[in-house]
């Protein structure tokens, strides 16, 4: 979430890099050789130079950045919204029409990033000019703002009026075409920096974060801490990037069938079919789990432990091997780590009685060093007092029992019994020939016939756009 912040000099940091990027595009568009072809535009009886049509802008962007029309519309829309390009006809409608509508580049003098923030004084002068030039030219909301400003900066009002008169006099001496252009530019600037009520304020930065002066003081203690952190960071083990990248590839491939956005889901996508069968089948506890779910238990030990059914099945297996106390111990330690502080002492005692004391009913086999450390820690119980013992048992189960469980008949039967739901067929509209998928896969990975699996109820807008990846 981007939140507004006033950094040094009053610049809104989060917008600046956005503006710089747009300005790069604008500069490229005005390049004498590779830029846009501009022409004169007739506005009533005057001829405005250096105008271009919306269509030309779209086409130029498509060619230059090798993007599709939707993308081009999006970018050019941004340029108009932020005032880098303004429309000559219908100046209050800050959209880019991909037709013969004329547009012009805003002069850098009036770029939002140049004059930031727009000053009240300038706005007052602008409104005053409009008022003087033609009585009644101000719109309703402008009249209101004018009178508010009049009250607020009353002390400089003489200056405001004088400036307005001066600027009007100077503009009278210009050619008509230039005068109109300047008026258009100024109007465009103020439409963005002081939008009319109801219009979107593109310069809305959200909540203004209070300027927190009590920040990090760069004193010697800070540097000492940083040095310690760096020393520790320097000495850490690192793995080659090739191995890491391979790890991500493997993970994505392993989980691809389990990712509904990639592969869809069976029996149907509840969001399309309004049938919650998918969720019912995947509840925490069901009589028979789905095959996908059982398959995930083999992906990693964490997957098995995080699934309540998986844990129960695993416990059944361990009991058969008379090592169920290991899992029981691990679970009890987890309970201490994440449970209420007030019950820590009681829980630690219970663990000691059940798992650690000599002759305990569910005694766990921990090496003597860890056992000694744990027993002495128990005298002053805290949330992590069982950590070392728990880690020891965790790795024991993971290395030994877990792989054997995956090879066991118990697991294999579970996997074979696992439900693979059938895709429910959607009801067919009378005039459609083919049946629609009730579980389309949004990503066209394998070439599947992805229908427009539209929601029969028509809820929500079909806000789908796709951009062929653009490269510059």
């Amino acid at each position: 979430m981007t939140i507004n912040t006033m950094a040094k000099g009053g610049w809104h940091r989060d917008q600046m890099s956005c503006f710089r990027k747009m300005e790069k595009v604008i500069v490229a568009m005005q390049d004498p050789d590779m830029g846009m072809k501009m022409r004169n535009q007739r506005l009533l009886i005057t001829v405005i130079p250096h105008a271009m049509t919306g269509r030309d802008i779209i086409d130029w962007l498509m060619k230059k950045y090798n993007i599709c029309e939707e993308e081009s519309l999006h970018i050019s829309g941004l340029l108009v919204r932020y005032g880098y390009i303004y429309p000559l006809k219908e100046p209050r409608s800050l959209v880019l029409r991909p037709d013969e509508s004329p547009y012009r580049f805003q002069t850098p003098y009036f770029w939002t990033s140049t004059r930031w923030p727009a000053s009240e004084l300038d706005y007052a002068i602008y409104l005053a000019k409009k008022n003087i030039r033609k009585q009644g030219e101000l719109m309703e909301y402008e009249k209101e703002r004018y009178s508010v400003l009049h009250k607020r900066i009353n002390h400089t009002w003489d200056f405001v009026v004088m400036q307005a008169r001066e600027q009007l006099r100077a503009s009278k001496q210009r050619r008509k075409a230039d005068r109109i252009v300047l008026e258009c530019q100024e109007q465009a600037y103020w439409l963005i920096n002081r939008p009319p009520p109801g219009a979107r304020n593109v310069l809305d930065m959200g909540l203004e974060r209070p300027n927190n002066t009590a920040r990090v003081t760069l004193n010697s203690e800070h540097y000492k801490n940083e040095i310690d952190t760096c020393k520790r960071a320097l000495g850490r083990n690192r793995v080659k990037s090739s191995i890491c990248l391979e790890g991500f590839v493997k993970y994505s491939e392993q989980y691809q069938n389990h990712d509904p956005i990639m592969q869809g889901c069976l029996p149907s996508n509840p969001w399309i079919s309004d049938d919650s069968a998918h969720w019912t089948m995947n509840l925490e506890t069901v009589p028979t789990p789905t095959r996908l779910r059982v398959e995930r238990w083999s992906f990693s030990f964490m997957e098995l432990l995080n699934d309540e059914m998986g844990r129960r099945e695993f416990m059944t297996y361990l009991e058969k091997e008379f090592s169920g106390e290991n899992l029981g111990f691990w679970q009890a330690c987890e309970d201490i780590k994440h449970g209420e502080s007030s019950r820590i002492v009681e829980k630690v005692e219970e663990i000691y009685r059940n798992f650690l004391a000599p002759g305990a009913p569910r005694w766990v086999n921990i090496d003597s060093k860890t056992m000694d450390k744990t027993l002495s820690g128990i005298r002053h119980p805290h949330r992590f007092v069982m950590e070392d013992a728990q880690m020891h048992i965790y790795f024991l189960i993971k290395k030994d029992s877990y792989p054997r469980y995956l090879k066991s008949d118990l697991y294999k039967n579970m996997l074979a019994k696992g439900i693979v739901p059938q895709e429910t067929k959607k009801s067919v509209f009378p005039f459609m020939r083919r049946q629609r998928h009730s579980s389309p896969s949004p990503a066209q990975v394998a070439t599947q016939a992805t229908e427009e699996g539209g929601n029969a109820k028509g809820a929500g807008q079909a806000g789908t756009n796709s951009a062929a990846g653009s490269n510059v």
Binding site: S17, N225, R238, S241, C244, Q256, I261, E340, V445
Partner: protein, 340 residues
């Protein structure tokens, strides 16, 4: 000032050494690693539901672990828990302060939390005895606004703040258990690792830090962004960190290689990233931007494979449900949309 200058030089020297050490482990490019991966075609997600009810900008949303309920926070001073299938409001919680910036859903489903310019994290109990939702705790100690919060369990929560620190709280007693200091700018967002042992924070000093919750120290620091980091998240296997920044790019930092491996950027994307979420398999990354769109990236090939354009204002928050079924976007246009 001689001592300070020496200390600063030593720190800079160590940082250079870390950079050099990281370089020696960079032995592959993405092209080589992802060469054999099947290509993802265009990804098309459709809006399935629109959640209407907020009256002002939505600043944050978070899915519950059951994958059908979610909570959203808006500047209209309300925290709303939605049943996303029926689009009904399960709870509409009025807040004391309407300047809310973040919200979170506890993994158990019993609690929700929120906070913002009031510098506090308020915990609400959804399963109170008499059915009313009441404030259970108000965690106050931050000297800056609350930018993000995430539950570890019903008894512990981590918060990040504009005072540049992150804090681990004991909800029962309402006290700070650990303060994680080290960032040199506002901490803007945080993410918890799948095993709940670590968390990551992104800040306005353009860095992301990995913290060991138990040892209370910063394990790794990642730089490279050119502007504030607004969004951060773990890759689903917990081995990498994904960040989104005002510089309009997203980056992937691998924890084991201890460095940046991938950057997701395109010259036609100009507006900053506000929020991000990976799909369940980690193959796709969905990033919400200031320009009202959500861009969908193929994480392995670093290519843009889709765009979600359905909001009329900035996309401020995004989340993929736990079962990976649906993506929810929240926007300043006061609507939440469910896509898949």
């Amino acid at each position: 000032m001689g001592e300070m200058e020496e200390l600063r030089k030593e720190m800079e020297n160590l940082k250079d050494q870390i950079t050099a050490a990281r370089k020696t482990f960079q032995d592959s490019t993405l092209q080589e690693a992802a060469a054999g991966v099947t290509v993802v075609g265009r990804v098309q997600l459709k809006t399935r539901k629109t959640l209407r009810g907020h009256l002002a900008k939505i600043y944050a949303m978070h899915w519950g672990t059951d994958s059908t309920l979610c909570v959203s926070a808006s500047q209209d001073g309300k925290l709303i828990v939605w049943d996303t299938i029926t689009t009904n409001k399960v709870n509409a919680i009025p807040l004391k302060s309407s300047w809310v910036m973040t919200c979170a859903y506890a993994p158990s489903g019993n609690l929700v939390a929120c906070g913002g310019l009031d510098n506090m994290c308020s915990i609400y109990n959804l399963k109170g005895k008499d059915g009313n939702v009441k404030v259970m705790r108000e965690l106050a100690a931050h000297t800056g606004y609350l930018s993000c919060c995430r539950f570890l369990s019903d008894t512990e929560i981590i918060t990040s703040s504009g005072d540049c620190t992150c804090v681990l709280w004991d909800i029962e007693t309402g006290t700070q258990k650990t303060v994680f200091a080290g960032h040199q700018g506002d901490a803007m967002s945080l993410g918890v690792s799948p095993d709940f042992k670590f968390f990551i924070s992104g800040a306005c000093d353009f860095t992301a830090k990995l913290w060991d919750i138990r040892e209370a120290e910063c394990r790794q620091t990642f730089g490279g962004h050119e502007s504030d980091i607004n969004a951060i998240g773990f890759f689903p296997n917990g081995n990498a960190v994904i960040t989104g920044s005002d510089d309009a790019t997203c980056k992937l930092y691998d924890l084991r290689a201890d460095q940046e491996l991938l950057t997701y950027q395109d010259s036609s994307i100009m507006c900053g990233v506000t929020s991000l979420a990976p799909s369940k398999s980690g193959r796709l990354l969905l990033a919400g931007h200031d320009d009202f769109n959500v861009n969908i990236w193929d994480m392995l090939k670093a290519e843009r494979v889709g765009v979600l354009a359905g909001h009329d204002n900035r996309v401020s928050c995004i989340g993929v449900s736990t079962d990976g079924m649906a993506c929810c976007t929240g926007s300043w246009d006061s609507f939440l949309k469910i896509w898949n």
